[in-house]
Subunit: 260 residues, 2 copies
DNA sequence: TGAAAACGAGAGCGGCGCTCTCGCAAGTCA
DNA sequence: TGACTTGCGAGAGCGCCGCTCTCGTTTTCA
């Protein structure tokens, strides 16, 4: 029932996926361990529930933020990236559940996670579709990466994806979206999992910004030069904070150390 | 002793980090579980040993491949990326140990893993240093991303890194190296951990090639047009297979499914 | 009111990490 | 040669885990 999920979420957040135990959940619930098996078939089942929930949590967060961002495709992409990063730093254990090492011996059943799991990348291609339709894809030198440059099998796969999701995008742009999609999560992974080194970056958010800018440029999204005029000063109303110039970062979120 | 490490490595490869148990190692060793505690302080200690070993395994593999690659910086980077990907696909469990979810409640002691863990990125900046010294960094439009564009704290951090490793590279290029470093492992992560979808890519290697090309361009490495003349045909002697045109990929390496 | 369903408790199985004690064998030294 | 230290594996044991099965109680509903 709902209590099990709630306590499971708490344990997941505090001890990580590997530390999630049905016995501990039962204990917190004030119930004997065998009782929870009435509601949850196994530990893996509970994990699956939490995974789907986390995917949807991240997905709806991203969708909300993107929808609230200004129409400029770069700003929308930056908002998407910020949302992913912010969520990951806020919920490192749940993030790790989604984008870290798969739990060994078990893969979340695809039919239950696919829809939820693709919401971020769907939002990404949504941004690109909008940009493409409005001829806002500008950064890419013409002909540099046309479809005929794609290797044959990849071209076929991309075509299948285009049809599957009814994308009005050229294949090469879909390919770039996938590259940048993995690049985005690579950057978040490195930050959340501490691969940039403990003390090497005092403001990881600035590093992230740089990476995001590169990714955006790869997809042909260029940063708008603040439009024609615009009143100087703060408050150009939009999502939480659109990359480019942004305030203090949620950086200092340390996952381990200095605590346990 | 060595036997423990060997069997530990086998278990790690077959069951993953979470499935590594000292009791099972002891069983395989034909010895009672408490006996292995003579040699290994704890399970985490064994994990640390295996982590360092894996970092060095990957690191020396990368260094070897890069050293054997042609002098062209793009080819060297492609060789590095190929080496990382190949190793990861060959040893998904060990790769996950290094670049997946950190084992909860435990972080490999930095003093024992830092040297080994940085060999790949050191190799990467080595390639860039060589390229920079020989004025082979060409892809980046002049002035587009000069150092003065970097935000202040990041600039300071990069400067510290430059000094720390005695790099003869401009800060903006160091920043790009870090972005591409995370992007590279993002791509490998997605492939190894199956985030590209089970059946969506028939040849993940081609997708990887595309990503690598983008990353290379971000660092100002452009693919050499096969030099002035060069005999056409195969065999331009070098590393295993340098990105660009390459044979069948080690793609079909499935990590789970269809087996257990 | 009585049958049926829902549900929690408890015992139990095998496996885990880890500790502690004991006994045995090899090496050390007078 | 005999006493002694040292190294090392065996075994029992603690508390944890996932999971199963049975049994008794409570709730629901006709």
């Amino acid at each position: 029932m709902a209590d099990i999920l709630r306590i499971g979420r708490e344990h997941l957040a505090s001890q990580g996926a590997a530390g999630l135990s049905l016995r501990a959940v039962a204990r917190d619930l004030g119930v004997v361990s065998s009782a929870v098996y009435r509601y949850v078939a196994s530990r893996d089942e509970l994990l699956t529930l939490l995974i789907v929930e986390a995917y949807n949590d991240l997905g709806s967060r991203v969708e909300t933020v993107v929808a609230a961002a200004p129409a400029d495709p770069f700003a929308r992409f930056a908002a998407l990236a910020d949302a992913v990063r912010g969520w990951a730093l806020r919920e490192p254990a749940r993030y790790a559940l989604l984008y870290g090492t798969p739990v060994p011996g078990y893969q979340a059943p695809a039919d239950r996670t696919n829809d939820a799991g693709t919401r971020v990348v769907v939002a990404l291609v949504g941004i690109l579709s909008e940009a493409w339709a409005t001829h806002a894809i500008t950064g890419v030198p013409a002909g540099e990466d046309a479809d005929h440059d794609l290797p044959p099998r990849l071209a076929a796969d991309l075509e299948a994806i285009r049809l599957d999701y009814a994308l009005a995008l050229p294949s090469w742009l879909v390919a770039r979206a996938m590259s940048c999609w993995s690049g985005l999560f690579g950057a978040v992974n490195f930050e959340v999992f501490g691969h940039f080194g403990e003390a090497t970056l005092t403001d990881a958010g600035e590093m992230f910004d740089q990476t995001i800018r590169l990714l955006a440029r790869q997809m042909g999204l260029v940063q708008q030069p603040e439009l024609p005029v615009g009143e100087d000063g703060p408050g150009r109303g939009g999502a939480e904070h659109v990359s480019g110039l942004r305030g203090p970062h949620p950086s200092g979120a340390r996952r381990r150390g200095a605590g346990d």
